[in-house]
Symmetry: C3
Subunit: 165 residues, 3 copies
């Protein structure tokens, strides 16, 4: 079996990744944008609690009972705004993670990879502030678009290395 070709001493750890600078860079920046996305969940909770606007009746229990609780199952513009920002993160960070991971594994130059990861990360952080404050356009549109182009640039470099239809 092909498995027997791996020496037992190498089975304990996959060390090649922590020794690879491009992988480490990708892991670091991917973690930053994923954490940024996760923080949208607590931001949503904060707005739900301060604006008293919930999606589920069972969530209103500490704010009242009966009819007064039912009234708190409602929308609020601030909550909706954070939710849209969170969903926009999902729509953009999922492709960044997928294409970025494959790109990192395809052996790019470290300097080029770092440039892609750093620009994308900065753009998504600016995008979040632009969405939540909100800043006047085109700050949000531009930060979204640059991150979008960066993802396509990684894709182009990935396809140069691996295209296999």
């Amino acid at each position: 079996m092909s498995r027997s070709s791996v020496k037992s001493g190498e089975m304990a750890r996959l060390t090649q990744f922590v020794d690879n600078e491009v992988f480490r860079a990708f892991a670091t920046y991917a973690a930053i944008v994923l954490v940024k996305m996760m923080l949208m969940a607590v931001t949503t909770s904060y707005f739900r609690l301060t604006r008293k606007a919930f999606d589920n009746l069972e969530d209103t229990v500490s704010f009242g009972t009966g009819e007064s609780a039912k009234k708190l199952v409602r929308g609020h513009p601030d909550v909706d705004r954070v939710r849209r920002c969170h969903l926009n993160d999902l729509e953009n960070i999922v492709p960044f993670f997928g294409i970025g991971l494959l790109y990192a594994l395809s052996g790019p130059e470290l300097s080029s990879a770092l440039l892609h990861f750093r620009i994308f990360t900065v753009c998504r952080i600016i995008h979040t502030f632009a969405y939540l404050i909100p800043l006047p356009q085109p700050s949000r549109g531009l930060s979204w678009a640059i991150g979008y182009v960066v993802t396509f640039s990684m894709l182009y470099n990935l396809m140069k290395s691996v295209l296999y239809l």
Copy 2:
């Protein structure tokens, strides 16, 4: 070229992963939570069909035509609840998958990795039942929060191994 450094006999299979216990554990638990998330789609379909509440006019064709069909393009609290549960899965399982994969590749101890993967998986299953039945709070909130903390714990361990800004 660097490619020539790989012997042709090794090109057929990437065997290092199926021989690594941490990778196998991650693949197993990631698969469980991804399947759990996919099952929300059929749960949504079930509620749409039994509650007769659809988003698209073309989906109502087997339930009537004309005005009676148009009336079925509507929301329903049960459908909305499953949809929120599905979206919450996306928001939490995507970071778990991304951070968990990078963590698994960074060479953690098997026992520690298993603990993270198992707690997260159990929490997301409890979260689903807590959302859909629904169970009184804080069952849903707590199962969400523990999974959230587990993801941050993997992130902390990942950053100890790979941080590269």
Copy 3:
């Protein structure tokens, strides 16, 4: 330390992946479906601009001010349809990417892997046209279901190789 076991000459590139045909095939098809998903964002923008229907007041600035701008913060059936299609992509392409990547790393046969990746990709492209035109059912339902089954088939093959609870 285990790190010293990696020779310095191997640290620069992770070459094993670009030399592996299954990985290259996965990277190619995963990139196609992720790009397809990203294109939903510009499709949404197109419908928002042509239908003049926005989610944020700051986005309406080039279409007017005051009350006339506020009226453009509204929904539109065409925008909602693209948004649902985009969200359906997220719900299905995320599991495909996660399970497909782990499956590709578990050393499947190239011919079998290609079959899975190609059917899924074709189904998601058909699904998009079926959703946006829209085509009569069951075109959308069927293209969704086949992609769903393909993902489960990859999962089954993955679990045969790596199951570790």
